[in-house]
Symmetry: C3
Subunit: 273 residues, 3 copies
């Protein structure tokens, strides 16, 4: 199931337009190349629409948004809708500032997103105005655990229905839902949260998955989450005593580079609800 | 002594607001995570104050300043003062352009800094208008050596008294002084100057140290310098014949990730004057 | 021949002003340090000329251009011409948007470039308006192969004559020509195209080569292409089964760090036409 979804990336080598933050942008570019997709970064309003027009997917990440790049997010988002290529929103830090919260909300109003992917605090903020964001990380009281998973899933399902987007909430357990069918995903390793931008990288990678599988966004988004988590697990196996989060970052991207479709198929750990 | 200072970071996990350059920003984020602090990067004036308000420390680095981000530096700096969280200034390239020199000087006038950290040329430029900056690196004629250490320390002491900030001058020997008590620090390895942004990384890391130890900024700043230098030494031990500055960068961040408080206590090499 | 050219970098340690994209900027800085040059990044119009004035070379890369940084490109380019330091243009994505194509063309009109370095699609776009750029990568139909090499060389020679710049087209075979004498270069490995920014890194590195050898730009540009390709080959030798494009990136920069002048002399594979 995930096998074909993953193989489609190498087959189609989709060009992905990223309007993203300058903190993790290099890792986003390299993870797209690792998955055999192609990245292009462009955030100037006067070229935004034209760049989107030559791409197969658009990744909007508000991690270091500013007035100029916000304009490009709207321009490119609307163009992507016009030409029917999938758009993903990563609302980094929604809840941490009014600008972030409002920009994310307005984007959701004006642009039809195929996927909205964030941590639980960010999604809560956008879905019901109540997240407890700690900067760009989920607040501890929001953490997905056995006690809260059902409630969080319910929130995601509701938000998916309201927006028409596939909602992806990442954390210890990841949730991927289109409002009808939901994946609970168990891949990953907690060390991933010690690497800056694993969320951003997943968003970039996921945009390649959905761009190459635009007819099945839910499945593509779930496959991307499993792929990233599985690569986080494979990367752990390489860690030596002296290695830390910087080497781990390299190993994760390396693992995406070496990931085989059948390995993803076998290694994906999830349940469907 | 340094042991508790370092342990406080993991204990408090301070969120650090970084307004910093786009060259080394990823390494700054990862070194903060390595030290068990949390990074957030935000440089848009319309959200700057709000982001600062949720943080425990502010790191201002002028490495790729522009008109927009300069505004944010002032806004966030003033907000940080209002809410009594420590602010660090890294005056990258002060002396290399009028804009950098003037921005750093105006920031020092308008914002009360807990720490000002730079190389000797940058600090000379700000303290007495006479550094010989070679771009973003210290000029050779400014280098701290046995002949110049006393004079450089004197300059730092004077600058500390004038600004009320702890002054940190990094080089072969590092100086940390509050004008009353001074640390001369001998940790580090000269290869660190072949990695872009080791200064920026130290500034980010140091902001976490002082955020978690706001009642003893001098000790926290000295501990941060020792920690960074010690990690530079530990990273050298991992270097193979084929390794160069890129692997060394990873090893330094990894070393911070794996640094233990007792190891810092034992490995710190300094004298107090 | 290349030996002296390469040794001149370490001897002169040229300071290189980079106005470049935020995607690959960290790798550009580290590769310059690896080659014993010094990087400075500055893209604010109000300091652009002053920063250029203290440098020995200027690297203009339009990878994430915006209105503000475009201004700096013109200001710094003109200042570099005034003070007779070499300027390199990397027209990233020329052909992918009108803004990129026009900016590159106008820069070529207003600034005298020592070198223009791009992939075949970018150079075709600028030389004759007909490249088939796929985002920031060369389109497959433009690829340099045995059938097209003569025609591509002809195009490069013509473009060199028209601009007065050394033209560098990188691909499977690399072309370096001043319109009179041409190098066809065979170093490199195809995996380099799976690392984001190997083109940008080469441009930064090449600026150091030409800055240290301003009296022989053609030879310096050819030496830089050979050096980068050779380091790509050396880096391949370190790759383990688990390594991917992220580790490869580190190994390439490491290889530049460890490159010896005699090794470059012996390892360079090229023919002169």
């Amino acid at each position: 199931m995930f096998k074909e979804v993953f193989e489609n990336i190498a087959k189609k080598s989709p060009l992905i337009h990223n309007i993203t933050n300058y903190v993790t942008v290099n890792d986003c570019a390299n993870i797209l190349l690792a998955a055999k997709a192609s990245p292009i970064m462009a955030d100037e309003p006067s070229e935004a629409a034209e760049i989107t027009s030559i791409c197969s997917g658009l990744n909007i990440n508000i991690g270091t948004l500013n007035e100029r790049t916000i304009k490009s997010m709207f321009i490119s988002g609307e163009r992507a809708n016009d030409i029917n290529i999938p758009v993903l929103l990563d609302p980094v830090g929604a809840g941490a500032s009014t600008l972030r919260t409002n920009t994310a909300k307005e984007l959701i109003e004006k642009v039809k997103f195929s996927v909205i992917r964030g941590n639980v605090s960010e999604i809560k903020t956008l879905a019901c105005g109540g997240g407890a964001t700690k900067g760009v990380d989920a607040a501890e009281e929001d953490a997905i655990n056995n006690n809260t998973i059902d409630k969080t899933l319910e929130l995601a399902v509701e938000f998916a229905k309201n927006t028409g987007a596939v909602i992806v909430i990442t954390g210890k357990t990841d949730i991927v839902t289109d409002g009808e069918k939901s994946f609970l995903i168990y891949n990953g390793n907690k060390l991933m949260s010690s690497v800056t931008g694993t969320g951003c990288m997943l968003s970039a990678l996921m945009t390649a998955f959905i761009a190459a599988n635009n007819d099945n966004v839910l499945l593509a988004a779930a496959a991307a989450v499993c792929a990233m988590g599985l690569c986080g697990e494979k990367a752990i196996d390489r860690m030596t005593a002296a290695d830390g989060n910087s080497s781990y970052r390299n190993y994760i991207i390396d693992a995406v580079f070496n990931l085989r479709a059948d390995e993803l198929e076998r290694g994906a750990r999830y349940e469907i609800r």
